[in-house]
Amino acid sequence: MVIPNISLGPFTLVDVLPYVALVTILGVILLATPFLVWYERVALALIQDRLGPNRVGPRGLLQAFADGIKLFLKEDIRPSAVDATIYYAAPVLMMIPALAACAVLPVADLRIDMGGGRIESVPFVVGNVNIGILYLLGLTSLQVYGIVLAGWASNNKYSLMGGLRSSAQTISYELSMTMAVLTGVLISGSTNMVEIVRSQAGTVADWNIAKFLPLGFIATVVYLIAMVAETNRAPFDLPEAESELVAGFHTEYSSMKFAMFFMCEYASMLVISGVATALWFGGWNSPHPALNFVPGFVWFILKVVAFVMVYVWVRATLPRLRYDALMALGWKRLLPIALAALVLTATWDAVRTPADKKSGWPVIEAPHDADKPAARASNAR
């Protein structure tokens, strides 16, 4: 489907596209959170042989909105012994990186008629930056500050332990995750999220998970495990382990501050799932050229929803890991595996690429370069 580059006053559609993407993606993520909560609860209920939410609205769809209104109307309690500034800043510190991370999520590739019969692929993304993946890694690790500071400022021993657990966990899994991501970057040959997705066009065999077998697959598995740990979801939900630490770092939070932590968890779940989709599972690309008639964003959303299902499935199935086992898994198993996958991928890549075809790495190119298709062709292995 080709979209004409319509003129909007002094601007054209291509000019305003990033802003449209900003509003759309942010809006969708914020609005999707309540439905995500509903989706999780219904999926959990299915797995656990019970009904789940079915009272508020059709099939219980409005349940999360009712919960949101309830939280909004709750008294905003501030315990007397908290460090007020940090206490109030913590939920915000957690929310900002979660939302900012979606700036580099490539959702779709639009075919735009630039006039004169020239058709160009323009990504539907807020910031098509060359260091997209580094930006993402940076922001996801910033999230831990929210948790640590919330645990510290609450002046509660359970919160403090939750915060400490979180910092240790995030640091441990950040490493394996970064190694896995670097493997993906090596496979795609770019740190630009859009380029990473474009390099996976074709069939399932062209997705990064299926390249450099079994290295791509191993790195994908490492990434998927680390991503659950990064978002503090079960079975890695130690910072808020209900049966041990009551509610962990957000024990002392009520009303909208608690709601922000809650939304954060779901927003970062969506963002991290989106990154996994873009990095390993072909992003907006369809699994087979025969299915290309389905728009790209539909594939993207389907894949993200599938990942969220995996999150829920894992939560319903697995018991919580113990602190020492969590550390052992991160440092003794995932990190060596991820490191080995990275080194082997790099070696393989260096050996099999003919010397004259070797390109500079990483590929730095302007996102709206006029002769981009040609530039891409020269960089292709």
Partner: protein, 418 residues
Amino acid sequence: MSAKPATGSAIRTLVGMAAANALGITLDPIDETTMVVNMGPQHPSTHGVLRLVMELDGETIVRCTPHIGYVHTGIEKTGEYQTYMKAVTITDRMDYLSAHINNLAYTLAVEKLLGIEIPPRAQALRVMLSEIQRIASHLVWLATHALDIGAMTAYFYAFRDREKLLDLTEMMSGVRLMPSWIVPGGLRGDAPEGWFERCAAVVDELPMRFGEYETLLDQNPIWRERTQGVGCITVDECLNLGVSGPTLRASGLAYDVRKVAPYCGFERYDFHVPVGTFGDVYDRYRVRLAEMRQSREILKQAIETMPDGPVRVGDRKVAPPPRAELDTSMEALIHHFKLWTEGIRPPAGEAYVPVESPKGEIGFYLVSDGSNKPWRMHERPPSFMNLQALPRLCQGRLIADVVAIIGSIDIVLGEIDR
């Protein structure tokens, strides 16, 4: 008035410290590197209102002191002000997860005082009810234990299946949790029509359900990692602390009251006493799962060999006469009147009958002075004895292990505090 008035929080601290000192609780850490954490009485996984004062070095437990008494309601003392028949209902409230077995333990003590033998059908039904209750209680243990370790699906599965067992209790007695159906002299009534068929259907379904739990938990490396080698205790330590039930058997001693001192004709049923080897959380889990299977075997045999006959003794001083007799027999009317106004009058003496509850050995020590109320009523609460092992089990473990260990010794605070 130059002295600065004490602030509210300072006063609260002082009062709190005074209360703590009076109770002998030290809230001061041993040295500067440790932290004292108060777990409970309001905590999601202390199984009621258990309070643990734990001293932590990082996440490692240096010291763990249980504090109990938050639901003490004086049940034993209340029992001394009830007639023998009325006191049955308060025994339900102690270990509310195994009400039938509490009733049975109390009832057997009263019957020993009275020196009566109850009809075979009542004995067989008592066996069935207590085994139904054992499975139901173990299912609640499994559910909460799994939830504490973070496996939430097992919780819903176990509660789903417990419903079917509670339905059986409800069908017979009209009550799900506090039936008081086992009373001195037999049962309050016979099983209703269709009860045995329904019971057989549940019994047939159970093995498949037990298999489901095992698939979900046993084959899961995280579950095994969380439970194996955690909270080990030896047989000697168990015996010194008075620990009984599955916790003792998991350590390797095959002590089951149903085998060593059979009551209600348990010697007539063919079943095994599962034992563990290491006495860790995992062994306790295996022992309880195996016990549920054995209870199911007993249920199956009991349905097949159920004798006919009355479910109450013919002694009119213990059990009321049938309603039809009241219209024609003056004696029956007098007996009925005396029973409901005065109650049973056992001869003076004392009695204790141990019974195997899902938690361990339960028994009521009753002293009769010949009146219609017990002079002294005391329960041997298995949960209370088992809880004594907690500080020993938690020593040097991580805080995440504490919830696994509490779950594995299966305590009910209603029984501990009474």
